[in-house]
Symmetry: C2
Subunit: 475 residues, 2 copies
């Protein structure tokens, strides 16, 4: 077979190659506990190691794996290390991996219902399972006027919703004639909101200057009075407010906006309310945190969280629910002749290509299938509680210390600290932790002060790792 | 371990579970030759099979796999079947799968260079290897003012380039102040261009009405005189032409626009020229077709093709090259404090999050790594030639027949045919093929006539499958 069809050489040995890859992965996974967390590579080191010209003759899979060890592994950052406290967790939980492999190998293209009924309907149900497990409101339920969809990232999700809001507010004018025919539109988010809102407004033609960074209160949550004032001032000056992004778990400090009161303001002005719970959303799986996370969700037009952050599902997997799918589909649907088919024409099926930017789509719901079935929601809730307990433990150490202090209230698994001697000392702490090899931390600024963020969410993190981190900070 | 950390139960058995999944996949892959290609499920069948409520207690991986067989496999469409002739090929070549598994398990987040030097630099080099193998011009080379990036889909790639063009043409006004502050912008593509251009213009706030569907000539290629006339008329009426998408291999019939003459027109008006070779681009790996595919690429601002179509790489993997990365980065870059880092501030590294819509990104370059190294470019070129030869064989049969006729010139592996008795007879042929069980075909319209498309690109397709298809059409 390989003589006549050399491009199928890999098919003949697939099972054996997969077993080789599995052995490689079993070994590689141990490296999460031993390899330095940050790569020691300098810019260009990986490039220098790789062959400069495209190879013409094929090599064996085992050779390719050896080369990965030699050339690529040194350039990896161990996001899977127990000492990973940087940015936010982004794991590759094993059941998710199995689902990802299965989905990839099934080679489905879920753009239309007819192009993969399984990809479409498993996704519908997995979003419904998650909705139930997280206690999200009925307005997002399967079978209702809204529903759920897997987006690649929260950035794409907020862009999709912003465009839907833009087109709804302009009654299709922005979509059909373009924004030059509309007046200035304005978008609201707090000064702690993720940069994806600014990027989305930029992509959607609304303009970065028309994103209002509403001031936050001392704890980092949006000041709703300021939101209300800003909206009123914008309306008076001829702008049209269309979209507000509330954050449940801000990137810097995990601050949680008061979604319910924000919703009241949005409702007064027919503003689309989107909730970005990209990181914190997973905590709704735990009964202890559910009410905090989903507060106000029953008043939101759209609600998003990323299983590829805290929930352990490997990238990419961002879950978006909308209360009304019509404006989203109105914004995203373009149907040329070659995509027409009877089920679509009947209006009785979900064609997920109309729910986001992309046309093609991967069978990502199988990752959720494997995690929800084989790990289970109780175990995930236990994981959340474990991480929050570790954060609380670290906060206790900080509170008892004379050198470090909390820079913000602890939010779930996120602990923000600063050195009492100021930014230079905080930076020295960050440097010491990152130089140690076992840990990774990143920074933010709060109230103009440098902050060391400890984002606890590794699948393998234990109290010993927190204590070791604290040991380094104690110098 | 599983008692104290139930969310890690999957970690303990990962190797064994992967071997179970591998055995499942070995069996499942055989189904590509025996299972009906289109699913027989009606809307709701998969949903009806799945449990309605989220399970609380975990099940074993083998149970989850059994349930996939029972509930999910019937809803799969066998895009991997040798008789897959619908839309375009979308395969899951085995070496690509191995790379995908490796990349997923490494849990990298390639948003910044510092968040994964390996993810970033392997991607840079794989795009360079592909550029070399396809003969793409030096303007797209690694180390130059442009470069390559993996996008998820050609839809996202054209959106990214359109936004970059929009912001370049308005000197940042659209990005910063919004399009309401700019005059009407216009976009050009032929009436055969993929719907993603219309969708991108809609998302970017330019408006669908400002996308000019330039007429195509009898063979489906853009009429450059018409393009030139349309641009001139738009300028006279106060519009600002900013972007043109040329298609190399149209979705309907595989028509190839004259990129070089289009480029001359675009150059006269400083219009960004994007080339969409999503499907046909893979043919540049074959020396026989390279010149046809890359003609004019040295005059394009951006050039895109999807290895997840004809090249066999499993979804998603769309390669985009730009001649100048500055406008793309100017459009897409937003850097909040928490993403700042020394290598980024130095300007000496590539941060790929600034090259597309999303912030997070998967280690997709490993799929290309495995395919280019373990399958090799010669084998891929042989595959292209094989598919083109099969298309030629089918065309010979059609040309010798009195019932079917070519509806367009054969383009690479795509054969468009229609019945001489008209649309009803063509539809009957489409129905017969799709009812057979071994095949999938889809339709398009050319010159207002219904067309049966035979898109040959399955990894396993042989002359016998073409002959069997032709047998069904002979009725």
């Amino acid at each position: 077979m390989s003589t006549s069809r050399p491009w199928r050489a890999g098919a003949a040995s697939f099972g054996d190659d997969m077993r080789d890859v599995t052995r490689w992965l079993e070994r590689h996974r141990e490296g999460a506990h031993t390899q330095r967390v940050w790569s020691e590579c300098a810019p260009g080191d990986v490039l220098d190691a790789l062959p400069t010209t495209v190879p013409t003759a094929p090599v064996s899979v085992t050779t390719a794996l050896d080369d990965i060890d030699r050339w690529i592994v040194p350039g990896l950052v161990r996001w899977d290390a127990p000492g990973w406290f940087a940015w936010f967790p982004s794991n590759a939980q094993e059941h998710a991996l199995l689902g990802d492999v299965l989905g990839a190998a099934m080679a489905q293209q879920g753009m239309l219902w007819i192009s993969s009924p399984a990809c479409t309907e498993v996704e519908i149900r997995m979003l419904e399972w998650l909705r139930q497990a997280m206690g999200l409101p009925d307005r997002f339920a399967e079978g209702g006027p809204g529903g759920g969809v897997i987006q690649d990232t929260a950035s794409s999700a907020v862009l999709s919703c912003l465009v839907a809001a833009r087109d709804r507010a302009t009654d299709g004018l922005a979509r059909d004639q373009g924004l030059h025919a509309a007046g200035p539109l304005t978008v609201y988010a707090s000064d702690q909101t993720h940069s994806s809102v600014l990027k989305a407004a930029s992509i959607a033609g609304i303009g970065r200057a028309n994103v209002r960074a509403v001031q936050s209160t001392a704890d980092g949550a949006m000041d709703v009075a300021a939101l209300s004032d800003t909206i009123r001032a914008d309306i008076e000056s001829g702008c049209r407010p269309i979209f507000c992004c509330a954050t449940v778990g801000s990137t810097a400090s995990g601050a949680i906006d008061p979604v319910d009161t924000i919703a009241t303001v949005c409702d007064d002005h027919s503003i689309w309310l989107h909730v970005d719970a990209a990181w914190a959303g997973t905590a709704a799986l735990s009964a202890r945190w559910r009410d905090v996370i989903i507060a106000g969700a029953d008043l939101a037009d759209s609600w998003c969280f990323n299983p590829h952050k805290w929930m352990g599902v490997n990238f990419d997997c961002s879950c978006l629910w909308v209360a009304d799918r019509v404006p989203l589909i109105d914004a995203m649907s373009v149907t040329p002749e070659y995509l027409r088919n009877d089920p679509t024409d009947s209006g009785g099926v979900v064609d997920y290509r109309d729910w986001h930017v992309q046309l093609g789509r991967r069978f990502r719901a199988l990752k959720l299938w494997m995690v929800l079935r084989c790990t289970g929601t109780q175990a995930l809730a236990d994981m959340v509680d474990h991480h929050v307990a570790l954060a609380s433990h670290l906060a206790d150490e900080v509170n008892a210390s004379t050198t470090w202090t909390l820079a913000a209230p602890v939010s779930l698994g996120l602990v923000c600290i600063r050195h009492v001697d100021g930014d230079d000392a905080t930076q020295a702490g960050i440097n010491a932790v990152n130089a140690d090899g076992r840990f990774a931390v990143t920074h933010c600024k709060l109230h103009d002060q440098l902050v060391l963020r400890v984002a606890i969410g590794s699948l393998d993190v234990e109290r010993s790792h927190i204590d070791a981190l604290w040991g380094v900070l104690q110098g």
